[in-house]
């Protein structure tokens, strides 16, 4: 009974569930919370990229008896963070492998004293050779991880790429690079931890995945599951930056709590958060593409490399998504993608909205424009000739069984933006103006949810229950961090049962209360967890109808009365559902073949960019995003996701650069890491098409990451349109534009003395 033709609540812009508290300033983020007897923690970090730790000394002007000091030897369980591989230490033990790696932890009642004490710890190092780039790591002359620096590799093959080169009408090559990107959530990472022998470890924190943290703490403390409790506090932005890092921070605070005997709060300031926590993986993608005389793709040979930093953390899964998104939304009979993630001695890279897709979609969508220019076809037309349609197969031989409406999205985006009209106008105006304007497009998909059999492996459990004071309560581990989890899931439950939106609340994301419905990542929440809530809600109604006298046609009060009858009989009113894979999902993890994702969201972006040849600055003047995302559960929230993702994508393309010196982020202050302000973001026009996906909650697919995939290639394509110069590396700063545009100038620059 899903995807109703008309809905009362799903599809309407009900206000954000926790909105009033946020607006009143009473929502409680972790730094707003105090625990009695709380101490404060701080971290002593490596100042070198790779070294043996020769000695650790403590300045005698500090009375260290006031402090608790924790080092690796104090860890009761395993000294590593549980993720895909357990190769990242919780605390460095004898060796450091990146700048800002945590070595020692300090706690003290006074948060200023503990901060100062960090500067009073003297660490001496015996340096080892570092590795700072993909190219250095690939050479494998200095091995800094495993036997060969290779964190992960994939090989995806379809058809026979090498059979095509000899006869192809056109062969075009290109290399594309993307830099690191910092999440810059406005709330820094922070946790509070408590420890007691009776209850074990309790952690409150700004985080996305309470059960990831739970799992990691079990290993660090060697405790059984009921002796670790993780509670998400109101979280001020995450974007993937609080997917894995909180496991490390929570372990640190909990170790200090254990050793000091006090609750410990650890809140990073911006300087520390920027330097020491995860960022988006830098990448390099090389394309070699064969086309026939009509501009149809014959073969794609793609080589992808990412920089994973010092430990593998999420590099394997980021590489997977990068691989699967690298061929673009096109039909191509022969595809080979070789992808590798390389270790360097830098702060480990991690999850960030898009998770590998923004990197390789930048490459393929820039490359399509380069191909168009090389063979003399309009870049729009080139895409049309190669778009996937219903029934086509992807590079992994997945058949498009759900509708693919790229042509419609493209048509709409071109019409809304007056793409051709503006291009003509700019072609006339540019020669007479110091402002050169251009239009650029990008077309792409984003796979919703986990790859292949990922959801089966997660085996998510979610449910609903009814509280004694008459509220339906959603029980999920999915967290709210601005993207709308609380609202969307309560909308779905209210719709399914026929209640008011205000009848439904959501339980706190507390591992002691909620089942493990999986991590809040991969744009899976509305689709996968939403479906579980939809099913659990309907299951509750069916159960009440069967056993508690709820009539077939029931009113709101009938429902709550039946709930009380059920509570009287059973002591509780609860309904849980476990994930069921849609039929026909076949995925071969070895050959990388089959249904890579259960569903795809599709999008076309158009950017209008102005390049000022006096200052070499590029600015986005206007932006259009047309997307098909399944059922839109809440249009205000969904629109906000698209706009916010595009703003981040604009930052990724033109403003945000992580400047590393010896592997340390030198621009680790907000004054020097530049994100767009309210005066920099352009008007953004958003249009949704909806093709309900029957296996998603009320037809929903993923929305949150999709919008970050398109801006960078659309913008750089527009810059090529504006200036005639193609740029293949982001972030593209005025200094980079200057170098290239000056090289094209005919006026010679007089030699400077």
């Amino acid at each position: 009974m899903s995807a109703h033709a008309t809905s009362r609540i799903v599809g309407t812009p009900v206000p954000r569930k926790e909105g009033a508290d946020k607006l009143l300033g009473i929502a409680r983020y972790v730094d707003d919370i105090e625990r009695e007897g709380m101490w404060h923690g701080a971290t002593v970090r490596s100042t070198v990229p790779r070294a043996l730790i020769r000695s650790i000394g403590f300045d005698q002007e500090i009375d260290w008896s006031e402090f608790t000091v924790v080092r690796a030897a104090d860890i009761p369980g395993e000294n590593n963070i549980q993720l895909i591989n357990a190769d990242q230490p919780c605390l460095a033990d004898g060796q450091v492998n990146h700048c800002d790696e945590a070595i020692l932890l300090l706690a003290h009642p006074d948060k200023h004293r503990v901060r100062q004490a960090v500067n009073a710890v003297r660490i001496e190092y015996d340096p080892l050779p570092p590795v700072f780039t993909i190219e250095e790591s690939e050479k494998q002359q200095t091995v800094v991880w495993g036997a060969d620096n290779l964190l992960k590799s994939f090989l995806l093959e379809k058809g026979d790429v090498d059979s095509v080169w000899a006869s192809a009408a056109h062969i075009i090559e290109g290399e594309y690079r993307t830099g690191a990107q910092e999440h810059l959530y406005i709330e820094n990472n922070g946790v509070i931890a408590e420890y007691s022998k009776e209850s074990g470890v309790t952690v409150w924190g700004s985080l996305q995945c309470p059960f990831y943290v739970h799992r990691s703490l079990l290993a660090v403390f060697n405790l059984p599951p009921d002796k670790v409790r993780v509670i998400q506090t109101e979280t001020g932005g995450a974007f993937g930056g609080k997917e894995d890092y909180p496991s490390t921070l929570a372990s640190h605070a909990a170790l200090l709590a254990m050793k000091s005997g006090h609750p410990v709060k650890m809140i990073y300031d911006r300087i520390e958060d920027l330097a020491a926590t995860t960022k988006r993986h830098p990448s390099r993608a090389r394309h070699r593409t064969a086309l026939d005389g009509n501009g149809k793709l014959l073969a794609m040979d793609i080589d992808i490399a990412t920089d994973g930093g010092a430990y593998s953390t999420l590099s394997p899964t980021v590489l997977s998504r990068a691989t699967l998104h690298s061929p673009g939304p096109y039909v191509c009979p022969n595809v080979r993608v070789r992808s590798r993630s390389w270790a360097t001695t830098t702060v480990p890279y991690g999850a960030f909205r898009g998770f590998g897709a923004p990197q390789t979609i930048f490459a393929i969508e820039r490359h399509m424009d380069e191909i168009a220019a090389a063979i003399g076809i309009d870049p729009v037309e080139l895409r049309r000739r190669n778009f996937l349609h219903d029934g086509d197969t992807t590079a992994t031989e997945q058949v498009m069984r759900e509708p693919v409406i790229l042509d419609k999205l493209l048509d709409r985006a071109l019409a809304q933006s007056d793409y051709y009209g503006r291009r003509s106008r700019f072609a006339r105006e540019n020669p007479l103006s110091p402002i050169k304007r251009g239009m650029g497009i990008a077309a792409f998909y984003h796979g919703s949810g986990f790859t292949g059999s990922g959801e089966r492996y997660l085996n998510s459990l979610a449910g609903v229950d009814v509280t004694p004071d008459g509220k339906l309560r959603v029980l999920v581990a999915s967290t709210e961090f601005g993207q709308g989890t609380n609202t969307v899931l309560t909308q779905i439950a209210a719709e399914a049962i026929g209640l008011h939106y205000d009848d439904v609340i959501i339980a706190p994301a507390d591992t002691a209360i909620v089942p493990n419905s999986g991590p809040t990542v991969a744009s899976r929440t509305a689709m996968v967890v939403g479906k579980l809530i939809e099913r659990a809600s309907l299951q509750l109604v069916a159960m009440l109808q069967q056993h508690a006298g709820l009539p077939v046609q029931y009113s709101r009060s009938d429902f709550f009365e039946a709930c009380e009858r059920c509570r009287a009989a059973n002591g509780e009113v609860v309904s849980r559902c476990r994930y069921e894979a849609p039929p026909g999902i076949y995925w071969d993890d070895q050959k990388y073949r089959g249904e890579a994702y259960p569903a795809y969201a599709w999008s076309v972006h158009v950017a209008q960019v102005a390049v000022d040849v006096v200052t070499y600055s590029a600015e986005v003047e206007e932006f259009w995003a047309v997307q098909e995302v399944g059922r839109v559960i809440n249009p205000v929230l969904a629109g906000g996701q698209i706009e916010g993702g595009i703003a981040q994508g604009i930052g990724y393309a033109l403003y945000e650069k992580v400047i590393l010196q010896d592997g340390h982020m030198a621009n680790n202050q907000m004054t020097n890491y530049i994100m767009p302000t309210a005066e920099d973001v352009p008007p953004i026009h958003v249009h949704f098409e909806e093709i309900p996906f029957q296996h998603g909650g009320y037809g929903a697919k993923g929305v949150g990451e999709l919008p970050h995939d398109g801006p960078a290639p659309a913008i750089l394509n527009a810059i090529k349109d504006a200036t005639g110069v193609g740029f293949n590396s982001i972030p593209l700063l005025p200094e980079d534009l200057h170098r290239a545009l000056c090289a094209h100038e005919t006026v010679e620059e007089p030699a400077a003395v």
Partner: protein, 170 residues
């Protein structure tokens, strides 16, 4: 040498308050720690993000950059002072309707910047709105629905973004 505390008296959200604190303690920390007003947030400590914005003698300032001594004898308005008796200020109502808050961490500062803007300029155009909010960074919204919220509040009407569909129960 450890500095002695000093007495600071000021009017915070209309109420007289007095604290004993070191003169260099940041106004931000005094609000949060000594007065328990945790609505004002710290995002950067450098005066870049604006999440610590308050109105000091009616002027928008970054409270992370104000030594509390300089606020002695002043009026301070924070987000907690916007709503009256639990009723949302029109600006808060507009943010709720238009989706101006996502994760909410920039929201208190953003609301203070917006009230400051509207108090000086009740009918700002888009350029003036952008300038008025340029010191408040939001990483979630891309600012678009924040602009819409300010426009809606300035027009003193709620903007209904629903294209079609029945009214829902509240």
């Amino acid at each position: 040498m450890s500095t002695l505390d000093t007495t600071i008296s000021f009017i915070v959200n209309g109420e007289s308050r007095t604290v004993q604190v070191p003169p260099m303690k940041r106004l931000l920390d005094v609000l949060r720690e000594d007065l328990g007003l945790t609505g004002t947030k710290e995002g950067c400590g450098e005066g870049e993000c604006g999440s610590c914005s308050v109105r000091l003698n009616g002027e928008l300032v970054n409270s992370c950059l104000v030594p509390v001594l300089q606020a002695d004898g002043s009026t301070v308005e924070t987000v907690e002072g916007l709503a009256r008796n639990g009723v949302l200020h029109p600006l808060q109502q507009a943010f709720l309707q238009c989706g101006g808050a996502q994760c909410g961490i920039c929201t208190p500062g953003m609301l203070m910047a917006a009230t400051h803007l509207l108090s000086h300029n009740p009918h700002p155009n888009m350029a003036e709105i952008r300038e008025g909010l340029a010191g408040n960074l939001c990483r979630c919204t891309g600012f678009i629905r924040i602009f819409e919220s300010v426009v809606a509040a300035a027009a003193n009407q709620t903007v209904n973004k629903v294209a079609s569909g029945p009214a829902h129960a509240r």
